[in-house]
């Protein structure tokens, strides 16, 4: 039993380990030594992709873009989740089902028209455009998680706040956001993961070199001629840094998030 599990664990861990040791080999060493530890470890590949290549710029871009996107994402998911989960208004349930219905369409299916819309609104090559598209695409899942959570908050809390004369917006800000903190951390982690790893929309909307995200920059390296696997490995590792750190620090939230609704955006 442990043997079977060991094989699966190895299969999951080995690719990352392989990329790590490969990124520390010189291209010449990699030709003759594919599998063993590097004989003379070098940071040359990292120097190559970070300083000479564009990885540093892409990394910074992602680090600017994603937190900004998260702010919009959180605002949208929390307000909508609270309204769907705990307020009463006409057509609430059909609208909620419509939100769920719209979350699975493939990015490529949407992208032809999204590109046209963004061109008309002057949102091509703009982070604002990409953020709005991301939030539209990833928002329904975050909203679903928040809605399911707010639906479990006792109605008495809402009613007693209302008896005290608290308006809906104040209630949201002073009561509903603080009590939902654990869920908010979950959707922050899910949102970061979704946006960090996103490719099609970035490819579509960020067409100038200076604006690209790190995942996009990495994806575009695929199929380029004359690129060593060692350089590629260093690029892959650079793009993996943030997702891995996220996992190390938020492992519990990530695993909780994956079975709370079970559909990644």
């Amino acid at each position: 039993m442990y043997g079977v599990l060991g094989i699966f664990a190895l299969m999951a861990l080995y690719p990352l380990f392989f990329v790590l040791i490969t990124s520390l080999k010189s291209p010449a060493e990699y030709v003759s030594n594919k599998l063993l530890m590097p004989q003379s470890p070098t940071f040359g590949n990292f120097y190559h992709v970070w300083v000479k290549g564009n990885m540093l710029r892409y990394f910074v871009n992602s680090c600017i873009l994603i937190p900004s996107g998260l702010v919009v994402y959180l605002f949208v998911c929390i307000t909508a989740g609270f309204a769907f989960g705990r307020l009463r208004f006409p057509h609430r349930f059909p609208l909620f089902l419509a939100v769920l219905f719209l979350m699975i369409f493939p990015q490529m299916l949407l992208s032809i028209q999204i590109f046209q819309i963004c061109r008309k609104l002057h949102l091509v090559n703009s982070y604002l455009g990409l953020i709005l598209v991301w939030v539209a695409y990833f928002g329904p899942f975050g909203t679903y998680i928040m809605t399911t959570y707010y639906a479990t908050v006792p109605m008495e809390i809402v009613e007693s706040a209302r008896l005290d004369g608290t308006g809906v917006y104040r209630m949201l800000y002073y009561i509903m956001v603080p009590i939902a903190k654990p869920m908010i951390i979950i959707i922050v982690v899910i949102g970061t993961q979704s946006m960090w790893n996103e490719l099609p929309f970035s490819l579509l909307l960020l067409q100038t070199e200076q604006l690209r995200t790190i995942t996009q920059g990495l994806g575009m390296l695929q199929g380029q001629y004359g690129l060593d696997d060692t350089t590629l490995s260093a690029s892959i590792l650079s793009a993996s840094l943030v997702p891995l750190l996220l996992f190390v620090f938020f492992q519990r939230q990530i695993t909780m998030g994956s079975y709370s609704g079970a559909v990644k955006g």
Partner: protein, 290 residues
């Protein structure tokens, strides 16, 4: 109470507006534009069903459908394997949380990074073939990414099964943790073997989660595979790993036949709409929202 309705609409307005502009409108406009000849810029010309006629005669379209079907055939394995592993882990194996963390790594890294890594692993002179030659299985050291059928099936196995294995384990372990332990005790008293207990107790108890996972697998293959295919094989060799989704990319953004790409997209839309209905039904059951 009138004001609550108004305030509620204001609260959902940002989400609804974004969905309207960036999801609902694109989906509907696709169907509309599938009846036009259109290069993306300039005027679109109405051509009726001509795009559809072209598509049904287009060999690439049928290859893409066939490839998508082949990938879907990996769903049974992608469902059974995580259930089996979870059932093994459930039996109080020590250190399973470490194992769970490790097996989850591919999911953390996302499809672009995993696509890039997989493509390096399966190179002709890559590490996998090095291992195979090293252990004396030289005949198995194939050129994984150049033989069409082989590449497609490798994609099915890597993307359809292995990549989501960790996610599946966590998902099913969570489902199994809520099974009433007395059911297992009863089975033990009856002297049921592990296999029978698995079929008669474990599987029926997590039926809902299994249904969810099956729908999710369809979504991942039909609607989420583009980033992985783009970085793993770029749709190649030839058209060997083209799916409907990849075909839209190719027609729309490589060949710039936007109208024709919309025709492919309309087919994909119908398929996805059916899956979405299943998904909505399951999510309704899953949440307390009424």
């Amino acid at each position: 109470m009138k004001s609550e309705a108004r305030e509620s609409y204001l609260l959902i307005a940002p989400l609804m507006l974004l969905l309207l502009v960036f999801i609902l409108y694109p989906v509907l406009a696709n169907v509309y534009l599938s009846f036009f000849k259109w290069k993306g810029l300039g005027k679109a010309t109405f051509i009726g069903f001509a795009n559809y006629r072209t598509m049904f005669k287009d060999e690439t379209f049928w290859v893409s459908i066939k490839n998508t079907m082949v990938l879907l055939l990996y769903i049974p394995l992608g469902v059974m394997l995580p259930i089996l592993i979870s059932a093994l882990l459930r039996e109080g194996l020590k250190g399973w949380s470490i194992f769970r963390a490790i097996i989850y790594i591919p999911n953390i890294l996302g499809y672009v990074i995993m696509g890039m890594i997989s493509s390096i692993m399966f190179r002709k002179l890559g590490p996998l073939n090095n291992v195979l030659v090293g252990v004396g299985l030289k005949s198995l050291a194939l050129d994984w990414l150049s033989i069409p059928k082989l590449t497609l099936n490798t994609l099915g196995l890597v993307y359809g099964v292995w990549l989501r294995l960790g996610f599946g384990c966590i998902f099913f372990l969570a489902a199994m943790s809520s099974i009433d332990e007395s059911l297992y005790d009863a089975a033990k008293i009856d002297g049921a073997l592990w296999w029978r207990t698995f079929w008669n107790v474990t599987v029926p108890s997590i039926r809902f989660s299994i249904e969810f996972w099956v729908v999710l697998s369809f979504i991942e293959i039909l609607a989420r595979a583009f980033p992985f295919i783009y970085t793993f094989s770029r749709g190649g060799p030839g058209f060997a790993t083209f799916t409907l989704e990849y075909g839209i990319y190719n027609e729309g953004f490589v060949a710039f036949n936007m109208g024709y790409a919309s025709t492919w997209a309309s087919v994909l839309f119908v398929v996805c709409a059916v899956i979405a209905c299943f998904q909505v039904a399951l999510m309704r059951k899953n949440s307390d929202v009424q």
